[in-house]
């Protein structure tokens, strides 16, 4: 017997899970770095080679709309107290006012 599946209520929830690392494309970005406004001393001069990172960490490369759509989609795969009662855990049983 299969247990009832609660996570397949909407088409979005039936989509295969894709992580943020699999979205976007090489070179795509959201962040725009503030301009360098101080004298441009080279990184090599400020930080000896043995302390410097050789390869950038493999963080996601995605645009802002891609990031927002990704996490909104992910959010819709979660049940939450604002959607309904959750009969577990003292912290979720009491009323938490919206003003905080």
């Amino acid at each position: 017997m299969r247990p009832p599946s609660h996570s397949t209520d909407t088409p979005l929830q039936r989509e295969p899970a894709v992580t943020i690392f699999e979205r976007g494309a090489p070179g795509r970005r959201a962040f725009q770095c503030p301009d360098l406004d101080v004298p441009d001393v080279s990184v090599e001069q400020l930080l000896p080679a043995r302390l410097r990172r050789a390869e950038p960490p493999r963080l996601p490369e995605a645009s802002e709309p891609e990031i927002v759509r990704h996490y909104v989609r992910v959010s819709k795969r979660n049940f939450d107290l604002d959607s309904g009662f959750y009969p577990l855990g003292s912290c979720t049983m009491k009323h938490n006012p919206r003003l905080h």
Partner: protein, 463 residues
């Protein structure tokens, strides 16, 4: 608030009838012996409506000076980095803001996936293969890493660099006292952990060797040399632990590539505001050999009965709700919402952005140290490389200088001695430079700080 309890008279009567008692009072009388009953209402003020609460809190908040209101160079553990709008927007979503802990994966795939993505990002940053889904904050992450070392090798002593944040040291000492471990502190020399004293303090009884990167005084440590020396003196069973600042890991060699076994730290810099000191999150990453000793939640990837990709909490036997007395910690939560801010921020910054930001911080911080160091009565505390924070010594009373700067709307940084209470830190000022502090801001700091130091020195001469 007056509407905090929404039960009506009818609701109450129905509940009392269902359990067969006549009044709420009767429940207390039946359950609590008379001798320990309070028998009077708590001395609390009347409840307030939401509007009154809002106005009350607004009035309290108006008595604080925020980092938005003054030119702020305070850091010392919490940093005023820019937080993009998408972080706020995504954190406010009900599905992330109000779920319960994901014990039922079939209704918690969203939260579990966020944990999994967060862990992946932390592994990429630190260069270590496993990460948990976050702990409370930085100092307790360090203390928990110490406990991992104790469980791993059963040895009796932690050797710690004096370059750890004083609050981290205090937290570690508190935990260590609880499980009977001695803490030996190794002093700094010219701003970094003294290599000779470090090697001499470590032996076969040393459970963990712990340092901060960059350290509390802003200096970049030679992490590879410290790790290698610790392993040489303490053997392979010794655990090397680094408290790392994640925002500079775009430019600094990652802990996993310089012999660090466990990398932990404060995550506030990643997408979390100062928020009066919290909440934030602590991160915790390690080599695979320590996986089963790690504290806290870990999300893993799996496939469901239909063969679809899914995410679950994994290795739960480490956790206290399964094996209380043998749990690897009593951390039975993760800072899921704050860690969400962290992974959204890292996604926004992206692969190249983290490097660009790190290089900007490096160059601006260098400029700031040079500029302040050129002022009369101000000298760098050490000559080591710095990235986002640095220490100077003032030839004047730091508290008085800070007061003079405050009048000009500038917070020049943290009073080192007030935090560490080390004699050698008297006169020390710890200055943090984030991307929100431009060259013009740094020049303004130099002008105001220079004038304040000059005025105090003049007073001292006259006095």
């Amino acid at each position: 608030m007056t509407t905090y309890t929404s039960v009506t008279g009818n609701d109450l009567a129905a509940m009392l009838a269902a359990i067969g008692v006549s009044s709420v009072q009767e429940i207390f009388e039946r359950q609590i012996p008379q001798g320990v009953r309070l028998e009077r209402p708590l001395a609390l003020p009347e409840g307030m409506g939401e509007q009154e609460v809002y106005e009350h809190l607004r009035a309290l908040a108006a008595r604080n000076v925020s980092a938005e209101d003054e030119l702020c160079f305070l850091g010392a553990g919490m940093y005023d980095h820019y937080v993009p709008a998408i972080v706020d927007m995504l954190m406010e979503r009900s599905e992330f803001l109000t779920p319960y802990t994901p014990y039922q994966p079939e209704i918690s795939q969203g939260g579990l996936q966020v944990m999994f993505e967060y862990q992946t990002a932390i592994c990429e940053l630190t260069g270590l293969p496993v990460s948990n889904a976050s702990v409370y904050e930085g100092p307790s992450a360090v203390a928990s890493a110490g406990y991992l070392a104790k469980l791993h090798n059963g040895r009796s002593r932690f050797v710690v660099s004096a370059g750890l944040h004083p609050h981290t040291l205090a937290t570690l000492r508190t935990y260590a006292h609880g499980y009977s471990i001695d803490v030996v502190e190794v002093p700094l020399r010219d701003g970094v952990t003294d290599p000779g004293a470090w090697a001499a303090a470590i032996d076969g009884d040393t459970s963990a060797a712990i340092f901060a990167q960059p350290n509390f005084y802003g200096a970049v440590e030679d992490a590879a040399a410290l790790s290698a020396a610790a392993k040489q003196a303490g053997g392979e069973q010794l655990v090397t632990i680094a408290q790392v600042d994640p925002i500079v890991l775009g430019v600094l060699v990652p802990p996993g590539e310089c012999g660090v076994d466990v990398a932990v730290g404060e995550g506030q810099s990643l997408g979390n505001r100062l928020d009066f000191g919290g909440p934030s999150f602590g991160f915790f990453a390690a080599r695979e050999a320590y996986l089963r000793r790690m504290p806290g939640r870990i999300a893993g990837e799996t496939t469901d009965v239909d063969g679809r990709r899914g995410f679950v909490l994994t290795l739960q036997t480490r956790e206290q709700h399964i094996r209380r007395e043998k749990a690897t910690s009593n951390i039975c939560t993760s800072q899921a919402l704050n860690a969400l801010a962290g992974v959204v921020y890292l996604s926004w910054l992206g692969r190249r952005g983290l490097v660009e930001l790190g290089e900007l911080l490096l160059k601006r911080t260098h400029y700031a140290r040079e500029t302040l160091g050129a002022l009369d009565g101000v000298a760098p505390l050490h000559s080591q490389p710095v990235i986002r924070e640095f220490a100077v010594r003032l030839d004047a009373d730091v508290a008085a200088v800070r007061r003079r700067c405050a009048v000009q709307g500038v917070n020049p940084g943290a009073d080192l001695y007030a935090l560490t209470e080390r004699d050698e830190d008297r006169g020390g000022l710890l200055v943090a430079i984030t991307e929100r502090r431009s060259r013009a801001d740094i020049d303004r700091l130099a002008e105001v700080l220079g004038a304040a130091v000059a005025a105090e020195r003049e007073m001292a001469v006259v006095g």
